[in-house]
Amino acid sequence: MDREEAKELRERCAQCAAVSWGLTDEGKYYCTSCHNVTDRSKEVLNIEAIPNAKKQAINRGLKVRKKHERGWDWYVCEGFQHILCQQAEALKALGVGPEVKSPVLHNLWKRYLQKSQQAYCENPVHARKRKAAAPGSPSASDWESEPALLSEASGPSLGDSGADGRGRPSPPGRASQSEMASVCSGSLDGVEYSLRKEKGLVKMTVPATLALCGLALLWQREALALSDLLRFVEEGHIPYVNAFEHFPEEMKLYGRDKGIFAIEAWPSYEDIHRKMIEVATFLDLPRFPAITEDCYLHPNILCWKYLMEVNLPDEMHDLTRQVVQMAGLGEADFLTFDPIGTRARAVKYDVQAAAIIVVVLKLLFLLDDRAEWSLSEIAETYNEENREDKPCFDFRKWYHVMKKSFDEKKQKWEEARAKFMWKSDKPLYHSPIDRSVAHKRREMVVNLQKQFSTLADSVPTAAKHSPSSFQFSWAGEVPGAACFHGHGLQGILSRKGRSLRTRNALYWLSTQRFCRSYCKHVTTYEESNFSLSYQFIMNLFSFLLRIKTYFLHEEVSLIEKRLFKTKYSKPKTKPSRSRKVRK
């Protein structure tokens, strides 16, 4: 056996991952470190190493086979387009209007390509590179041949409905470039793409595709808030993690593509929200259609939704509406997203609605671990005395019902998260020599999984529950889970003259002073400093929205700042006297 002979095989050993091959007497490769004999023999692999054999190899058609193995030539932005297309289709399946996909998302994408100079412009980046490589080529053809993705006839375009990219021929002009690029990535420009750093450029990433979707939804004023979008992503209704799995077979991914398309984290609200603003500013988008009172994203409607979701009485809606009005949160100017306005700022509609409800709960029950319980007692006696009447809302009862369902839900969510499968059936690898190892490992995992799934308790993923905007249901389907929607607030509000007052006359501010440094944090949330009922409510809402608790706390503080302006401008006076509630 001769070690020297086997240097041309650069693949990793499937057993021990070493790259050290020898040849057996039969001409088969074996690993010198673990003695694993492969079934590959020398001649086939050796062709490139022996210059004289090259001709022969071409005659035998080996080159063709290799070409096929490498797949199509494709650009990174085409990959993103695929993902966007799938996401748009998924949104359509969720019941969003077809306009979101085309023309809105389509146009946004086109604009993005143009702004980032990848297509629809005089001198796209790909063309620049190519011209440098082959100065003789006519520049007139750039428009047609460069990312041909948006010409309606080819590829999975957002514009046409058929999203499959079968049978797209690879443009012959790119052969020389692809030869070089495909060493480190499956896509043509994976390396360049990951190196590309220009001032002011917003690079497309997988999370950014969600931001684009979010913008399209916002433009269409669809009844889908950002938190819902992200929740659907998490529940697997919208492709995100391993979205590349659905690329056509011939679009090979490896090397740098791994860094671009592989996702190992769930999208976070903060992150996507920030990206939305970033992308919108980058795209130079005009003012978005106004959010008026009849829009889903208007706080009045969203508050309705969240009051129903957390099983609070409908009567509280009057109060949320008043808070919205007093704090000036309902005006279209405030609500409408305007990327080119002086300070691009987008309202977090869903977080804000939840915060409004928290404020109302604080107004009604104070939430200091005392007032709410004594008010519950009043409600309880009232309910016992007036059995015929509309029942009065009993905070304690509500708490018990909510706590139980919330804990169950959260437990299930945590279990689902722990069981989440991150890895795709198409394993990604860094370089071609890792390919067989990655595949082998994948195969091994699948085999082991098969073995353990037969031993598991239940059939996994029995039924992926269908997507719903509501996470809890209270309409009498679950026995024991009382519905509080119809309850009244008569025990908590007292009549004084023509107006109703909240029986609780006190209020405390979630934040007394705002942070003014550059850390961008308005305030901090140290859980243990707050009452238990406040903590519970914060946890409940932040779970519903899948956001961090401090994020909601911050929003509550911001609303309070608008509501009690005077208290903040003159910090010496003690916050809050009673507030009248007119009816």
Partner: protein, 448 residues
């Protein structure tokens, strides 16, 4: 109310984690700290949700294992297997071991699991990376042995033995020795079965000679298997024991002695009482001189003063000609009775009573005094309380009698134990009691 809100918020400014940790004191579980530690980003990068998933999954599996919910554990295992594809290479390399440990535990207990499933799992896991092959092979063998599948176990070991590996690391060399030694142990098992058969055969029988020949070849093979392991430092009790038994059977006394001496005295080996016990038993069988036996047991006495061989040691010392040895004999006896586990050992008390009398008659009260000084403070409560007097009398009269005598000698006739026992009126023991009282009066070290 405004005060309330201020109260509520004031702690924010003062509250810093360091101050809190001081207050919470050491040795307490600090959930907030754990949370904090978990949230500390590793390697300066935000921890990926993938890592979150796998660590949550791991804790669910551990929880399920703890509660013996094998199905549930298997369910989470399904997801945990993705750690084999972790993009963090360090974690990926650690994954097979973890999965093997968890998976074999589940498969061992799972009601629907069988030997076949376990075998399939083990074979798969062996081939994920080279580093785990031998460890898994060994544990797989133990599993098979546990299920009584000796042939399969032996085959498995042979396979492991012939496993081709690259540059072998030192840790793997030790494992190979262990694999071979286990193989030897299995061969010993068949050998000792044959030995038993042989002992039932007649020596003139034709079958006898073939059987004994058979055994002979066996022993030769086994010795190779054992010797490599036994020379590396470690605790190899079962291997040494069977090896020595075979060597002795074939009359290789020198070889056996060498192995045992090396096992007991080589300083590279960890301190191991059994090594000395084996050597002692071997020497006893060989009828070695008393001096030699004493020197072996002396070391054992230093390691385990409560060992059951200590009474034998005492007897050897008592018979010795050297005064120093006889004195040590007393020390050994006291040492044995220092342990709660030996407190009801009648023989020990009997020996002590007899020996005390003997020593006093030979007028060495100083020896007793010296041993007693360090125990004066606690033996009365430990051995001679009135509670023990009552319960000993009820459970074991002979024990009570010996203890009462010792108490009398050591504490004088006024002590509770002695008084209680001597007051008991018993037909048979009356004469004995009288003698005891007389002896105590005469010999007690309290008022000479």
């Amino acid at each position: 109310m405004s005060d309330f809100s201020e109260d509520l918020l004031r702690p924010t400014k003062e509250d810093d984690p360091a101050g809190r940790s001081v207050r919470s004191g050491s040795g307490m579980r600090l959930p907030w700290l754990q949370k904090h530690v978990e949230s500390v980003p590793t390697r300066g990068k935000k921890e990926k949700d993938f890592a979150q998933t796998t660590s949550a999954c791991l804790s669910f599996i551990q929880d399920a294992l703890l509660k013996h919910q094998w199905q549930r554990a298997a369910e989470y295992m399904h997801s945990y297997l993705q750690t084999l594809e972790d993009s963090d290479s360090q974690k990926r390399q650690a994954a097979p071991e973890m999965i093997w440990k968890l998976g074999s535990e589940i498969l061992y207990y799972h009601p629907k699991s069988s030997v076949e499933t376990f075998n399939a799992f083990a074979d798969r896991m062996k081939n994920i990376g080279v580093m785990n092959y031998l460890t898994i092979s060994l544990q797989h063998t133990l599993y098979l042995l546990h299920h009584g599948l000796l042939d399969d176990a032996s085959r498995n070991l042979s396979q492991a033995e012939t496993w081709r590996y690259g540059e072998k690391s030192s840790s793997q060399e030790a494992l190979i020795n262990l694999v071979q030694a286990y193989k030897g142990l299995l061969q010993y098992y068949t050998w000792s079965k044959k030995k038993k058969e042989l002992s039932e055969l007649d020596e003139d029988d034709y079958a006898y000679s073939t059987a004994s020949q058979n055994m002979f070849s066996h022993s030769w093979k086994t010795s190779i298997n054992f010797s490599a392991l036994i020379q590396t430092p470690g605790v190899w009790d079962p291997f040494v024991k069977s090896y020595v038994e075979m060597l002795e059977f074939y009359g290789d006394q020198d070889g056996a002695r060498e192995v045992l001496t090396n096992y007991a005295y080589d300083e590279k080996f960890p301190s191991n009482p059994n090594a000395h016990v084996y050597l002692y038993n071997f020497l006893k069988r060989e009828k070695a001189p008393r001096e030699k036996l004493i020197s072996v047991l002396k070391i054992l006495y230093q390691i385990v003063p409560s060992h059951k061989l200590m009474l034998e040691f005492h007897r050897l010392l008592r018979k010795s000609d050297q005064e120093e040895h006889r004195r040590l004999g007393l020390e050994v006896l006291f040492g044995v009775l220092d342990f709660a586990g030996c407190a009801k050992n009648v023989t020990a008390w009997q020996c002590l009573a007899k020996y005390l009398r003997q020593i006093l008659m030979r007028s060495h009260p100083a020896w007793i005094q010296e041993e007693w000084n360090s125990r004066k403070s606690w033996w009365p409560g430990f051995h001679f309380s009135s509670f023990w007097a009552k319960s000993d009398w009820k459970e074991d009269r002979a024990l009570a009698y010996e203890k009462a005598f010792v108490a009398g000698i050591l504490l004088g006739k006024g002590c509770k134990y002695f008084r209680y026992i001597s007051k008991q009126d018993h037909q048979v023991l009356r004469k004995k009691f009288k003698r005891m009282k007389k002896l105590v009066k005469k010999h007690s070290i309290v008022n000479p």
